[in-house]
């Protein structure tokens, strides 16, 4: 379990510095801001946001996750050459990726609440 958390920690640190994830967060910020400004009705803006999130988040999670893991092939090999169980290594990678995709959602949620306060 602890090795899983260690893999998660470093892998998440790598992913959070990815330009794509930063762009992804900015995308949600802009969308949220735009919807709130132009719809004039926070309830309708939220509804539109929900449909965008439902569509975009799984899509980006699948694409980003696939590309990330594909590029990490050699790194995964190096990790597997360490004295770790395969299960905790892959578990750490998976949770690390999921955590980053989720963290962006949290940031998006905060931004929405902050904007809704205006």
């Amino acid at each position: 379990m602890t090795t899983m958390l260690k893999v998660l920690k470093y892998q998440a640190r790598d992913a959070i510095r990815s330009r794509w994830l930063i762009a992804y967060a900015l995308f949600f910020l802009v969308i949220t801001d735009g919807l709130l400004r132009f719809s004039g009705d926070p309830a309708r803006a939220q509804l539109s946001l929900v449909s965008i999130v439902l569509f975009v988040v799984p899509l980006v999670a699948v694409v980003f996750g696939t590309v990330y893991l594909y590029n990490a092939r050699e790194f995964i090999e190096l990790l597997l050459a360490q004295p770790l169980a395969r299960r905790s290594m892959y578990g750490g990678l998976y949770l690390g990726l999921m955590d980053r995709m989720g963290a962006k959602l949290d940031e998006f949620g905060d931004a929405r609440e902050r904007l809704a306060g205006f």
């Binding site: 090795t3 260690k6 893999v7 470093y10 892998q11 640190r13 790598d14 992913a15 510095r17 990815s18 590029n71 990490a72 092939r73 050699e74 790194f75 090999e77 190096l78 990790l79 597997l80 050459a81 360490q82 004295p83 770790l84 169980a85």
Partner: protein, 260 residues
């Protein structure tokens, strides 16, 4: 025919560090299956440098990966220091592996990567940072790996293999992409490690380099061990003066030895 001479080696040597017995590995489905390794028997002696030589596709990397447990052989067994390794992870704490391709998470720095490995190996792991100084990597370790050149990444790759003072070092094409100075430093390090009793398995396509490093040679041909023994023996058997000539002579022979 090709002589199998490993029995003559076993006489005076202490118990071998790694022993492979009857390793077989097949990739692919029935119709398009490729037998990458066929009943490979190989002994890796303590305190010696073993060079694995063979043409492209002979199964060198698959053999190395089997020792590491990255590939699971279909047949045969591998013993590390007298214990079978099937399904266990702990023995890898005593192995340092330098993969052929040095690609790491782009946004981490070298220092973070090394910290991660130290973290994963636990506090008991001793860290040998000699190569960091020899390669003058101080500044490079603070930059994200994405901005470093291929050679610099290969140096970090080497640092990570030697980091934990392993009993067995596995180096897959270690000097690929290194300048002459850096590859000399790396070779000196390998010989120094051997001098302090560590065992090394190395593959390379540069025969002159292996000639400098190797004590023993295992020649793989189409998934079989065509020769295993000391470097001098290989030269004597083939009647050639250099490893390069000897390897070429081995390749020209009847590829599938009936004796193997």
């Amino acid at each position: 025919m090709i002589l199998l001479t490993k029995d003559t080696m076993d006489m005076d040597a202490p118990a071998p560090l790694v022993e492979l017995r009857g390793i077989g590995k097949r990739f692919g489905k029935r119709s398009a299956a490729v037998d990458v390794l066929r009943a490979v028997d190989l002994t890796v002696h303590r305190g010696r440098v073993l060079a694995i030589v063979g043409p492209n596709g002979a199964g060198k990397t698959t053999l190395i990966k089997s020792v590491l447990g990255l590939t699971r052989p279909d047949a045969g067994e591998i013993a590390f220091d007298g214990t079978l390794v099937t399904g266990s992870d702990a023995y890898r704490a005593r192995i340092g592996y330098m993969p052929q391709i040095a690609r790491f998470p782009e946004n981490l720095t070298g220092a973070e990567l090394i910290a991660m490995l130290e973290d994963l190996r636990g506090p008991a792991a001793r860290a040998d940072r000699e190569l960091v100084d020899r390669f003058a990597l101080g500044d490079a370790l603070r930059k994200p790996l994405r901005v470093l050149s291929g050679g610099t990444r290969q140096k970090i790759n080497a640092v990570m293999a030697f980091l934990f003072v392993p009993d067995l070092l596995i180096l897959d094409e270690p000097t690929a992409g290194l300048d002459p100075l850096s590859s000399s430093i790396l070779k000196d390090k390998v010989l120094a490690e051997r001098g302090s009793g560590r065992t090394v398995i190395v593959t390379s396509h540069i025969m002159s380099e292996l000639e400098e490093l190797a004590d023993d040679v295992a020649f793989l041909l189409e998934g079989r061990v065509a020769f295993a023994g000391s470097l001098d023996e290989l030269k004597r058997v083939t009647g050639q003066g250099t490893l390069e000539r000897a390897a070429a002579a081995m390749m020209l022979r009847d590829p599938v030895g009936e004796a193997a």
